[in-house]
Point group: C2
Chain length 265, copies 2
């Protein structure tokens, strides 16, 4: 079967949508959904988020009636999850045939120290809450708000990383959180056969997180690897990586729950 | 090289030591360490813990001078970690040539619901704090309290599970936490080449956790699998599984950071 030409009439919820990969995904989804669709964009920074909203509203899709709502909130907070679900309910209508949730919001954690430096439970708790619990609970709340029924296809994307599969020295929190998320979404895929679940590893992206990686990573050889990738132009653009994710969504051939790397698309 | 006959003069710290697998490990270590060694046993239940302490103190090793200290505390609490480290420092002496930390304390999480049922961030946060953060921070604190130096071998065991590698329906929290821990200890192994790190999967054990699994698991087929294993006598005893872990420790040939399953020993 050839890939679909578009993603249909969809409600798309994207966390971490104000910049980097999340913003690129928002721009792509905006072009690929049919008229009558809606995007719910979530990020901590209200100003950046409203800039993306303005850009999308002025785009061709925006002018053709695409609804773009924003929730300026930290996904690590309970009331944020409630706001996201309420806003999603408000813009949803029965003519929508698809829901796509992109769990993209994430933090790198303190990469200036090794695992043996993490003696403070509050720091580790806060990291796991933002990067693991919030993704689980937002996904659960949206699935409950929009239960399975004929005529509605539901798709949940976990923005993952090579770090979910492979240990990186001084990236203890990030690797731990990404491994946790991959497994959580694998369990979800087993539990909900009608749901489409994908852990997508977007590759080394030219983002603010890579600046942190190049400047703050404690391990000298890992730090050098990131610096060299940057110097040699080996980082991917968010646009290029988002295009690969769109290809996966349009083809819709992935096995639910699997981890797919950008370099394998 | 043939396996060592014993584990030398060691300080062993065991969490979740009052019953089940942790208790079996404590009994085995007690037999395998040389005179002049010490065990620090940690568990929430003070009464059960003191029963194990009495048993060990009255054993041959206890009568030969093995020190057995207990810390009745919840490893999910900061002050507990401080107590464990202080007690470990108190019983350590310079003639000890080995430190063995067994990160065994764990909870199953609510298996009566699927991932889509986890809408409460506080519940997920609490689970990850007890099962992931506490293991990371206890390990970090002990490694800092007993830094690497010539003549001291340090070994950290992560009591893992098949659930770290494979999704089980309605075991979302448990799988997520175990996957997170395996990765965390893989990163640690990469970071500390002199350290010996092992993720040991003890197999389906005939413990209180298996009673919970048989009676509370939401997914009917997973629940039936556990009930059948019990009915057909396929559960392992804690003693048999602990013996395999001791074999791994005595042979000391595992690759640091790797996941080893009881059925492969």
């Amino acid at each position: 079967m050839p890939p679909a030409a578009d993603l249909g009439r969809a409600l798309c919820v994207i966390t971490g949508a104000s910049r980097g990969f999340g913003r690129a995904v928002a721009l792509d989804l905006c072009r690929l959904v049919q008229p009558g669709s809606a995007l719910v964009l979530v990020a901590r920074s209200g100003a950046d988020l409203r800039a993306v909203q303005a850009e999308l509203t002025e785009s061709e899709a925006g002018r053709a009636g695409l609804k773009v709502e924003v929730v300026a909130a930290d996904v690590g907070k309970l009331e944020s999850l409630e706001n996201i679900v309420r806003t999603s309910r408000d813009v949803f209508n029965d003519e929508m045939e698809k829901i796509i949730l992109i769990n993209n919001a994430a933090s790198l954690g303190d990469v200036s120290k090794y695992v043996k430096g993490f003696t403070d439970m509050a720091e580790v708790d806060a990291y796991l809450s933002l990067n693991v619990s919030s993704a689980m609970c937002l996904t659960a709340r949206l699935l409950q708000a929009f239960p399975a029924h004929a005529g509605l296809r539901r798709c949940v994307i976990n923005v993952s990383s090579l770090c979910a599969l492979q240990p990186f020295r001084s990236w203890g929190l990030y690797c731990t959180g990404k491994a946790a998320r991959d497994m959580m979404f694998k369990v979800l895929a087993e539990e909900e056969p009608e749901l489409r679940v994908l852990s997508y590893s977007p590759g080394p992206l030219d983002t603010q997180m890579q600046v942190e990686a190049r400047t703050k990573t404690a391990d000298p050889s890992i730090k050098k690897t990131f610096s060299n990738m940057f110097a040699q132009g080996q980082l991917l653009t968010c646009e290029a990586s988002s295009a690969k994710l769109m290809k996966l969504l349009l083809e819709d051939k992935f096995t639910s729950g699997e981890h797919v790397d950008v370099f394998d698309v």
